[in-house]
């Protein structure tokens, strides 16, 4: 009896210790999740806090007197005259209607720097298209100069330095009050390529570049990866060669991505003479990088198909090919798709290999094909983040938000596909 009681006591004591251990372990878990969530929250708060102003543009709406004398322009159809004419004059004149006291060289210079540097060419384009508008007054909307935009959006933010003179600040305040300077949704961001001027820079070029690159990557890595996985898993004999291939595939998945960039530079550009900075080469390089991921996840998906289904099909007399195509692949498809989409999402965020094949160039035009120069979203973000103009800071953050939106929607697609295709047995 005494023996038994002491045994029960020992158990009870150890029980206490066990429960304590369990509680501590749970606490670690909760702590880890809390830290992860907090970092995520800080990241998002920072990006959104910095980036939300990137989705806002600052515009100045002016009644521009298209006076032929002021522009030294008699005939807008004459190419020589157009190239000689002064198109900033009417803009300054329009601003002077608001501030009649601003006379003289320095005041005129400061007035000219209220609007973006592309404003005069907008006036020129308008006149080239509609020569009959000469000597009329037109209401035009210009993008504000970067410094003005920063002042309007971030006047009370100490991390931005205001590079406007006292006089300009007074003008801007007045124009904002009059409603001449206004902020609205930044459609420029989604309709143009890159630019040296933040107000004029858009992300459309990078989005299209990313899409084209991803299309090439998908078209190559998905069929190749799945075919390789099916062959290795179902048909390949178990011998040293296949073991060697398997080890190498696993190693490839761990190779730093920049190595793939070097490979692409040497093989696709150096050996095959393909052009630099084009989506085809970028897509090929990213396809090589994504292949191991797709192969590994597809093999895991094939392995997880229950052997009973295979046996059932074989038992009726299905050939190896029929077993694979009719039963194994459809059942493994959700897993294969998930792996592929995760691989694609990785490729979408990849920068390093693309730097090496020249997709880091400054490209203004939106790419119109697989062989036209392009850049991609993460590279565009990198370019903007390393630019000196203040306006690019918010653009970089806005770009990150666009990229994240892309990734989240790709992952959502993966989850949706898996849910749709998943069969239970």
């Amino acid at each position: 009896m005494t023996d038994q009681r002491s045994q029960a006591e020992i158990v009870r004591q150890s029980l206490k210790r066990r429960y304590r251990k369990e509680r501590r372990f749970r606490l670690y878990g909760i702590l880890a999740i809390f830290i992860a969530l907090a970092s995520l929250f800080i990241l998002f708060a920072d990006i959104i806090g910095k980036g939300h102003t990137g989705f806002v543009k600052t515009t100045i709406t002016l009644d521009v007197p298209l006076n032929s004398d002021a522009m030294y322009l008699d005939d807008p159809t004459d190419k020589d005259q157009i190239s000689m004419a002064d198109f900033s004059a009417p803009i300054i004149a329009a601003l002077q209607t608001h501030f009649p006291e601003a006379e003289g060289g320095s005041a005129r210079r400061e007035l000219a720097r209220m609007v973006g540097s592309y404003a005069p060419s907008e006036v020129r384009r308008l006149l080239e298209k509609n020569p009959e508008l000469l000597n009329t007054t037109q209401t035009m909307e210009f993008l504000a100069h970067d410094t003005v935009s920063v002042y309007v959006k971030h006047a009370d933010n100490p991390s931005y330095s205001i590079r406007l003179s006292e006089r300009q600040q007074g003008w801007v305040d007045e124009l904002v009050e009059k409603g001449v300077i206004d902020t609205s949704f930044n459609d420029v961001l989604f309709s143009r390529g890159d630019s040296r001027e933040p107000g004029n820079a858009g992300i459309l070029g990078a989005i299209v570049g990313s899409l084209l690159t991803m299309l090439v990557t998908l078209a190559i890595s998905f069929p190749m990866g799945i075919a390789a996985a099916i062959y290795l898993e179902e048909f390949a004999p178990q011998n040293r060669i296949t073991d060697f291939i398997e080890v190498n595939i696993n190693n490839l998945a761990a190779v730093p991505s920049i190595i793939f960039g070097l490979l692409g530079l040497a093989v696709f550009i150096g050996l095959f003479g393909m052009p630099r900075s084009v989506p085809v080469v970028g897509g090929l390089v990213l396809a090589l990088m994504t292949l191991p991921t797709i192969i590994i996840s597809s093999r895991a998906a094939i392995k997880s198909v229950p052997p009973s289904i295979r046996e059932a099909a074989e038992g009726i007399g299905a050939s190896k090919m029929q077993v694979v195509l009719h039963h194994v692949v459809p059942l493994a498809m959700p897993g294969m798709l998930t792996g592929s989409i995760i691989g694609m999402a990785q490729a979408l965020g990849e920068t390093a290999p693309l730097l090496l094949i020249g997709m880091v160039a400054f490209i203004v035009d939106v790419p119109d094909g697989f062989f036209s120069s392009a850049t991609v979203l993460p590279v565009q973000i990198y370019l903007w983040a390393s630019s000196s103009e203040q306006g690019f800071v918010e653009l970089a953050s806005a770009g990150i938000m666009v990229l994240l939106a892309f990734m989240i929607s790709m992952n959502a697609l993966a989850i949706w596909l898996r849910k749709r295709l998943e069969r239970r047995w």
């Binding site: 178990q238 046996e311 059932a312 009726i316 007399g317 299905a318 029929q322 069969r423 239970r424």
Partner: protein, 298 residues
């Protein structure tokens, strides 16, 4: 008998002597009973057999799982394989439609003839063999497709039906033969995995008979089923024996007694005894069979 075996047997015997010294009245243990290799008591041979199997040996790598078995399986008979776990009865069954092919390390030796054709001949097509020798597995394994597609799959891949109406007929007949038609005729498009275990197993039988095989191999078809479902499947087996040759592996001796004409008793890779079922269960010829069916070990 190879070296290792004789050593282990010797060790067993020495154990036994110690044991019997303490318990002089102990019963004969099965380790003591010798099985002579390649020697089967009873009636292993038949005239004009469906399967003629001679000196069959199966190796898993270096391991000899089936040791020199010779057996005939007659036309339209139901023969059941019984024996303790790991005695090789399933392995032997799976040789009959070459299901062991997919196991890389598995090698089959000996002569296995189906209607005088060597089924392990290098030119023999395994797909054709399996169309003739169907199989039903231990765990019901319907495809995660509709009931109709499950049954229609075999005829489809073998091109047995050219028109939809032919296929419909095959599906209906197979389901009728499997005693499932009345239960599922209104929901042929429902997914098969939603059925009960017994229904699923009968669907698997319907799927196997849809390609009109000559032989049906059943690997413990009722071990995952409840008694009512088991009774239905057994009834089905009795009905099917008129048209098919059926080989059934079972752990239930009552089942073997109920459904089969002949019973084969396997022990450690040997085929110990083959006899009329009634004889096996009433007056077995071999000691091992007797001790197994009387439940002294198993």
């Amino acid at each position: 008998m190879n070296m290792n075996e004789s050593i282990s047997r010797a060790a067993d015997n020495s154990d036994e002597t110690v044991m019997s010294a303490q318990e002089p009245e102990a019963e004969t243990r099965r380790e003591d009973i010798k099985v002579e290799e390649g020697k089967t008591v009873g009636v292993p041979y038949a005239d004009d057999p469906k399967f003629k199997l001679r000196n069959v040996e199966v190796f898993y790598g270096e391991d000899r799982a089936i040791k020199d078995i010779s057996l005939d399986i007659a036309r339209n008979e139901v023969i059941s394989f019984i024996g303790p776990s790991g005695c090789g009865k399933s392995t032997f069954l799976r040789c009959l439609n070459r299901m062991n092919d997919s196991i890389d390390i598995c090698r089959v030796k000996g002569q296995l003839m189906l209607d005088d054709e060597d089924i392990y001949h290098s030119k023999k097509d395994v797909v054709e063999l399996r169309a003739r020798v169907g199989m039903v597995f231990q765990k019901p394994n319907p495809f995660p497709k509709s009931i109709y597609d499950n049954v229609a799959y075999g005829p489809r891949i073998h091109g047995l039906a050219n028109r939809k109406s032919d296929l419909d007929e095959i599906v209906e007949n197979s389901l009728r033969k499997a005693g499932l038609w009345d239960e599922v005729k209104d929901r042929l498009d429902a997914t098969a995995t939603g059925m009960s275990g017994g229904q699923q197993q009968r669907l698997c039988i319907a799927r196997a008979i849809a390609v009109s095989p000559e032989v049906i191999l059943m690997d413990e078809p009722c071990s995952a089923l409840d008694p009512i479902a088991t009774a239905k499947v057994e009834e089905l087996i009795s009905e099917m024996s008129e048209t098919y040759t059926i080989v059934i592996v079972t752990h239930s001796m009552q089942q073997a007694a109920r459904v089969s004409h002949r019973t084969a008793y396997f022990h450690l890779g040997h085929l110990v005894e083959v006899n009329e079922t009634t004889k096996v269960f009433t007056s077995p010829e071999h000691e091992l069979t007797e001790s197994y069916i009387t439940g002294r070990f198993g």
